[in-house]
């Protein structure tokens, strides 16, 4: 029997009401690798993640999503909920806002753990903060989101996504709200997670330069389709599609290298 990839997407189509957002997306993400989906806004790149995780208003019309060889696109709601957090960690577009702004972090982590049938141990949570390089980690469960900086909130969100050690991490433009310095630190964090824990990462970004820094493979998306796919070097140095070439031209540093 053939070995499964971590994530296999086959001919996935999805739409918002009458708008066809995904027109047949096929992707393979090998275990332990980092894949970046790159495209302009409206290309459907974020929709790929939303179609995997389930999003109100988005209808998946066809295709299959396999997680570790297991079909998940047609899973019942309750089962799918367990999947999120346990086997798939997700970092949304605005990670800093992914916690209830007026409650302290502790109970919010507790709710996440109890939802997955795991007893809440404060030490576990603090340890997950320490792993993310957060200072004063044992203070954080008693703090509220607005008491932390944007970058710290970001790390807490990554800690939450990685809390139950999922094997797959989906990130939707996780750095777009951050300044350049913080961006670099967060990217390093992702690379470290990938290296130390062997987590497979799918990252959606509009930033080809960033993708090149982090990705093993890059998929270029345009109008709801993957138009080109390859290793980072292949995409940057020998792009086949005119659209990809244009994307490369738009990033000054890459233009010079190409």
């Amino acid at each position: 029997m053939m070995e499964h990839h971590m994530l296999e997407i086959r001919e996935l189509t999805a739409s918002y009401d009458d708008f066809q957002a995904l027109r047949g997306v096929t992707l393979d993400v090998p275990r332990g690798k980092i894949l970046c989906i790159v495209g302009e806004s409206g290309s459907g790149k974020s929709t790929v993640i939303k179609a995997i995780t389930g999003f109100p208003g988005l209808t998946v019309n066809g295709g299959r999503v396999l997680l570790d060889g297991e079909e998940i696109s047609s899973m019942p709601r309750a089962q799918k909920r367990r999947l999120l957090g346990e086997r798939i960690g997700v970092i949304p577009q605005n990670p800093a806002g992914s916690f209830n702004p007026i409650r302290v972090f502790g109970p919010q982590f507790k709710e996440t753990m109890k939802s997955h049938g795991i007893a809440y141990q404060k030490e576990d949570v603090i340890q997950s903060f320490t792993k993310m390089g957060l200072k004063d980690a044992n203070e954080i469960p008693g703090m509220r989101p607005y008491e932390l900086s944007g970058g710290m909130n970001q790390r807490v969100a990554v800690a939450a996504a990685m809390l139950l050690e999922p094997k797959l991490l989906l990130c939707d433009e996780p750095t777009s709200a951050l300044d350049v310095n913080t961006q670099d630190r967060v990217i390093e964090e992702f690379l470290r997670i990938n290296k130390e824990r062997g987590t497979t990462i799918v990252m959606v970004t509009h930033n080809l330069g960033l993708a090149r820094k982090i990705a093993d493979t890059i998929a270029i998306m345009y109008q709801g389709r993957i138009i080109e796919q390859g290793t980072a070097e292949e995409i940057i140095h020998t792009p086949r599609e005119a659209y990809t070439k244009r994307l490369i031209q738009d990033v000054p540093r890459l233009r010079r290298q190409a």
Partner: protein
Amino acid sequence: MKTRSKKTRRQLLIRIGIAAAIAMLLIVVVVFAGAFAPNDPYQTNAAFIRKPPCAEYPLGTDNLGRCVLSRVIYGGRTTIAATFFLVAVSFVIGTVIGILCGLFGGIVDRFLMRIADVTLAFPQMVIALAVAGILGGGLGGALIALGITMWVSFARLARSHTLSIKNEPYIQTALLAGKSTGYIVLRHILPNTMAPILTNALTQIGMTMIGISGLSFLGLGVVPPTAEWGSMINEARAYIQIAPWAVLAPAVATIITIIVFNYLGDAVMDYRDL
């Protein structure tokens, strides 16, 4: 995304159309009450006191032998006419005040807006009740009592919309061209502020109707024998055990009318929010 709003837009227009049609029907029935009422609403009949619905009196008679259906139709005329009158007067007064305040600003604006704030700081119906009570009943008293606070929402809306378009280039152009203030108000400001203010008027209808019939029910509005839904219900509730139709008929009429106008107001508001 675009197609979606188009779809809901069409649905909303259908909803508005249906509600408006029913509202028009109600208005036509009460305006031409004479043509629709089977009997004289004030004609008492000693032989037919508190009789259940029959061919001659489709909704029965009250304790003076008057035709309940005819009284409901004529009563609707009182309630609906009083409501429209009050909303229209508040509309005109409020809009004029609002536009003038927005246009000229200054001390008059500050004074009037402060009055508006103060008016809203007090419980409307409590004030209305006291004013109507002290004025000693009668429709006029009830209208004044309710009108004291009603102009405010119109004035505020008109003022804010006037302020927001006052500095638009086309108005500045008109000013430079030497057009008079009156011309600018009629030609530019009124047409541009009408839609939100009319919507507000529409949403006020249901509330006003509840207010008028409520005051009449308490004996502080329309005084018997004039037919009016609230006062009819109040009169007839004394013998509700014997002749429930005399209460239920005006009650159902009130409920339907308020629901239709509220529905229309909501639908128009939703449409404008789209």
